[in-house]
Subunit: 392 residues, 2 copies
């Protein structure tokens, strides 16, 4: 699937969403970020905000057919099922399609749920340019596609009573543990660092080991050390980027090296402790083997998120009924999702279903039809349970 | 200094060499690779080949003023001193300027001493193209500069009785140990490998550590391990090149990694043992943390070279006299030199003098005038000692 946010392909699927919403008797609202809300009125006619089921229909440029899409399609299927069976919830219930969750075209992930939550100023969001054409902005595309709504994009402009999001796991844990449903407790904290190591270029044949200042050796030891420390803390430490000067050669010690470090943990406190241990290990390594100069920068700091116990409880009861207590797993989201932002403003949680080998953001992304259906059923059962809970 | 082999600047310094040789009564021969031999006849009029003092006058494109040059200039100074003092050796004695030692313009190091030793076929050497202009070859430049001599470039065409080479150390050992002369015992064995690690790209936030196949983590552990093993063996292990796929990103485990490994040891047997230990450590690491697929290739295999005890002895006696037994150091050459090739066909050794901070192939390359003079004096004393030895 290649459906970049606010592209013509995105406008096309949004027309489907709008048509579908009207066909099943929902009221459609588009806000100033193009977020789409389809609301089915509850029988109490309460003015309380709706229980929402949301995710996103945009994808990576060479993405899969499930990431985001499953959550919106399942939400519409829940609404259609209620409509066809003539079932009326107590409170309003509805579906949300969040704009530019992927950040693939306009380079900020979860852009419009971020604006809605008040974390990203709307002017900044509107100004964001298409990564391949700086003359195109979020606002110009919203206008061109007729998606620049009147309603303020905010938790005041269009408040939500709760937010449930069905999503593929995008990791291998459910498949590995043979569980069909993951009940998401929150999102782990993560921090991104860049490290620069300055050493001294030197001939590999004429420079004894103890007279070297070898930045790549130091980086290698640091990467290995961060992995050992992450294991001790039950967290994650990952390096996906490492760069040497372009003139590097087999028989020359490099003059410098840079690498990125991504550390994650479900607990903010544990992450801070883990960071402390990693940094002191890096300082120690920088002093070994003749020594190198280490400098670092914190590039991203995203605190842990805890989802709401009422929403989690509703999903647990649904999952117990569908797969039994042994069939589901409490899980922490490793990736960012719109629910991370909604959780700042309304009770939220997510339902994960397995995806093959954990592959995502890739054409081979796959979730079986049975698991898609089970996820949609869990979503339906959970929102009805939550609707009952709200009534009490 | 920027004097690429067979360039106009090289032709200019070669005219100086030729003029100088004639001025001090030497007989000049240029062979089919442009190697220049300046011979001063010995008083015995023996047909035995001359005791040679050789090195090279070509440099890296942004090189220093000592690497190679010191050895040729000192050789000419030795010949001039003998000439001016009217001292006559028993056997013929002379200086050699070897063509394209650096391999910087025509990409093969020690090209013409390699042809002379019979290790590089002359046709292959002649065909080598200028790295920045494929229409120019070694042979076309030899012809253009009038340096394509009649004498066969070989140890038969112009045999040498011995080869002594004064050179800067190109490493930091003499400076660090406060020694003014290094007596070179030989050149260490070295092997170059390329390693390719295939893993699996994965999201850093959603993929548990034990479900990863992380090629960069494996490479980091391998680089660190090769360093530990090299220390145990008293050898060298170095990685100066490491590459990840161009689409690497902070929150994605890379799909693959490649790196080069350069291992060195003065002993062939120890190098082979070291290689075995490193490879089995790499295999073990490849099986850890979920596993990666490791493949490797041996790119270069250069056996250890042992210089001749008679030449080494002559330099030792000279050094004892000049700086005392505590003032010099037996040393193993880490870099390649023309003497490595000559040693296959005649008794050879080298004399090292300190260079500032071990810096070489760089404009900041520096050897004090005092150390240059001391090296030249050691060269003179050693060749006279060797001449005496030949007489006995």
């Amino acid at each position: 699937m290649a459906r970049l946010a606010l592209s013509d392909a995105d406008a096309q699927v949004r027309r489907w969403f709008a048509d579908e919403a009207r066909e099943i008797g929902c009221e459609l609202t588009v806000d100033q970020m193009g977020n789409m809300f389809a609301k089915r009125r509850g029988r109490s006619r309460s003015p309380a905000p709706m229980t929402a089921m949301g995710s996103h229909l945009d994808t990576q440029p060479r993405g899969g057919r499930y990431d985001g899409i499953l959550g919106v399609v399942a939400a519409m299927e829940v609404l259609r099922t209620l409509h066809e069976r003539g079932y009326h919830t107590q409170y309003d219930i509805g579906a949300v399609n969040w704009t530019n969750e992927e950040g693939a075209r306009f380079p900020k992930s979860m852009l419009s749920s971020g604006v809605w939550a008040g974390d990203i100023p709307i002017e900044k969001a509107w100004e964001l340019a298409d990564i391949s054409d700086p003359s195109i902005t979020v606002k110009s595309e919203l206008e061109r596609q007729g998606l620049l709504g009147q309603v303020a994009c905010s938790h005041d402009g269009y408040p939500l009573g709760a937010h449930f999001e069905l999503h593929i796991e995008q990791g291998p844990i459910l498949q590995e543990r043979k569980k069909r449903i993951g009940i998401v407790q929150g999102a782990q904290a993560y921090r991104w660092f860049s490290f620069t190591i300055a050493g001294q270029d030197a001939h590999t044949g004429t420079t004894p080991l103890d007279m070297r200042h070898d930045p790549l050796l130091a980086a290698a030891k640091m990467i290995a050390s961060s992995n050992v420390i992450a294991k001790q803390f039950g967290g994650l430490a990952s390096t996906g980027v490492l760069r040497l000067p372009t003139n590097s050669s087999t028989n020359t010690i490099a003059s410098s090296a840079t690498f990125m470090l991504d550390i994650r943990h479900p607990s903010d406190e544990a992450l801070a402790d883990m960071q402390g241990e990693i940094l002191s290990s890096f300082e120690k390594i920088a002093g070994e083997d003749g020594g190198v100069r280490l400098s670092w920068r914190l590039d991203t700091d995203s605190p842990a998120v805890k989802f709401h116990p009422d929403c989690i409880g509703a999903v647990e009861r649904a999952a117990d009924k569908l797969v039994g207590p042994g069939g589901w797993l409490p899980i922490v989201s490793g990736a960012g999702h719109d629910s991370v932002y909604t959780s700042r403003r309304c009770p939220s949680t997510m339902i994960f279903v397995p995806c093959k080998d954990g592959v995502s953001h890739h054409p081979e992304e796959y979730c079986t039809p049975e698991d898609c259906a089970l996820g949609a059923q869990a979503l339906l059962d959970a929102v009805l349970d939550y609707d009952q809970m709200r009534r009490r």
